[in-house]
Amino acid sequence: MKLYEYEARNIFTRFGIPVPRFKTVSTPEGAREAAEEIAGRVVIKAQVLVAGRGKAGGVKLADNPDEAYGYAKQMLGSEIKGEKVNKIIVSRAVDIDRELYLSIIIDRSIGAPVILASPEGGVDIEELARTKPEKILRIVVDPIIGIRDYQARQAARFLELSEPALKKAQEIIINLYRVFDYYNCELAEINPLALTPEGGLEAIDAKVILDDNALYKYPEFSSELVRDLTYYEAEAKKMNFSYVELDGNIGILCNGAGLTMATMDSVYVLGGRPANFLDIGGGARADLVERAVSLLLQHPKTEVVFINILGGITRCDEVANGIVRALEKTGAMKKIVVRLKGTNEEEGRRILEENRMYVLEEMDEAARKAVELGGRR
């Protein structure tokens, strides 16, 4: 789960990472008051989760409280790249000598946290990695030992700073790692980290992505779990399904991410258009299957529901019962193609056949049937 900038800034502040003074507000009046309190020039920043808000008009420099009021009024309630702006922050404008980059990410192939540091921040790090890889330092941290001072020192040194900023950068790196570690982050990033003319350092932007699997450890965010989701996405999330909306008309419901992806791909390869990706995961029981199937049956864009189950930890009889109940309860008349295989498959097929559903055995065969029913691209 990606945090809003103001949430990440609050965390940074608590962990001793210097952040320009700021206020989070949700009204233009609030923005004016905040600008008065902070005094001097301020930056108004829309609190959205989509990337690239700066270019989309979500970041403005205000010279005085009235300007702050004006920009806030413009932004609040507007949409940035399709995401509604409910909150903005008013943040003291910082004089910047140079922009640096710092982050801690999880390196999947090594299975360890990695510190990334660059003396050239403020730009897209992926872009920088392509154009000037020598300007990025990577330091692998042993996950059972944690960050060591020598590593923070090495990363700080790479930022091309002199004292006292060098020492401060070292502390910021240690503290950023503490954030990363404490909050089970996938990413904790400061881009840019501003070097001020006085030799100070301030985190101008703050990006934190939490591991959804660890969210239960932070009840402060749990109420925010459902963020800017469509009705269907939110419903799926509540039930712990993996659900992604796509552009087509064939709803895909499978057990297991790989199979769901392969089914989606197969439908596409065979000429159809998947409407979504719904993975009920392993071991779903009838009631959950019922809710999953109901979700797709209710979805307006879905014309055909293609259910492809290969039972391992999931039992085909539970799936069959869930399908039958969903059809009974929703009363939907959409076309359903079911393919069942694996644990308790005979029982599952029997249940479906008793309810006059036709069950296919082969995945390709079923996918072709779904494409045929849904119409080719």
């Binding site: 591991d211 991410a257 791909d265 392993g282």
Partner: protein, 295 residues
């Protein structure tokens, strides 16, 4: 010969008294797996499916000294602890079925296991099966058949799909390893390729990848650099997945410009790997490469 598990495999089931734990204990027993003990804290002294249950792994190991493998069904919040318990008890192989373990915890126990010389399969995986020999996992045994092709896969059900297709086509498997769908797996594609390389019974390998990370690209590089002798056939799931969306597995996400299927397929093809478009094409591709290799 087989990889990872064989006729000497002796299993303790951690979380045996839970719904999944007991169900799959029976399924594994039926398949012929030698399960000597189960563990659930506070349930010591009971019996599940004829298997004695202990309060902790150490006690199980003390009572059943032949134990060398654990399979973990413990809920995600307690799973990391169960892994440490299994490592500290001196087991050689730990199969972590549990899904939803925080990746920070996984990083730590995977590193600890590596330092301790213990092999971890998973987390969030279907386990390992050597058809007709042993099954330490949750896969439906009957879709697999004994043979000479190794499978390594990031996915569960998709593996069953492909194994089923192979079995129907008369191509059996030596061992099928489900390394799991999490971002940080205990065993990687390269680790598995190395195991299959050293296994005399295995004549070819099927690699089932998906979007997210660069494990497939690394495997491709390994195949080139090591001049990998055995033919490899691959399938990559998620070619139509949009970037930035997590496709079911915690690890299946195209993020920060890394992990799309195109790059993986390209890398594998450049390494001489045949890549299937549909899972059902795997058997014919396999026959082709085996014929070419003169097997």
């Amino acid at each position: 010969m087989t990889v990872l598990i064989d006729s000497d495999t002796r299993v303790v089931v951690q979380g045996i008294t839970g719904r999944e734990g007991s169900f799959h204990t029976r399924a594994m027993l039926n398949y012929g797996t030698k399960i000597l003990a189960g563990v659930t804290p506070g349930k010591g002294g009971t019996v599940v499916e004829g298997v004695p249950v202990y309060d902790n792994v150490m006690e199980a190991v003390r009572k059943h000294q032949e134990l060398n493998t654990s399979i973990i069904f413990v809920p995600s919040r307690f799973a990391a602890d169960a892994v440490y318990e299994a490592i500290d008890a001196g087991l050689d192989l730990i199969v972590v079925i549990t899904e939803g373990i925080p990746v920070h915890e996984t990083m730590r126990f995977v590193r600890y296991a590596r330092l301790s010389g213990v092999t971890i399969i998973g987390p969030n995986c279907p386990g390992v099966i050597s058809p007709e020999v042993s099954k330490v996992g949750i896969m439906p045994g009957h879709v697999f058949s004994k043979g000479r092709v190794g499978i390594v896969s990031r996915s569960g059900t998709l593996t069953y799909e492909i194994a089923y297709a192979m079995t129907k086509a008369g191509i059996g498997q030596s061992t099928s390893i489900g390394i799991g769908g999490d971002p940080v797996p205990g065993t990687s594609f390269i680790d598995a390729l190395e195991m299959f390389r050293e296994d005399e019974e295995t004549v070819a390998v099927i690699l089932i990848g998906e979007i997210g990370g660069d494990m497939e690209e690394r495997a491709a590089r390994y195949i080139i650099e090591q001049d990998y002798e055995k033919p490899v056939v691959a399938y990559i799931a998620g070619r139509t997945a949009p970037p930035g969306k997590r496709m079911g597995h915690a690890g299946a996400i195209i993020s920060m410009g890394v992990g799309d299927a195109t790059s993986k397929i390209k890398a594998l093809k450049e390494a001489g790997v045949e890549v299937a478009e549909l899972p059902s094409q795997i058997p014919e591709l396999l026959k082709k490469v085996l014929k070419k290799a003169g097997r």
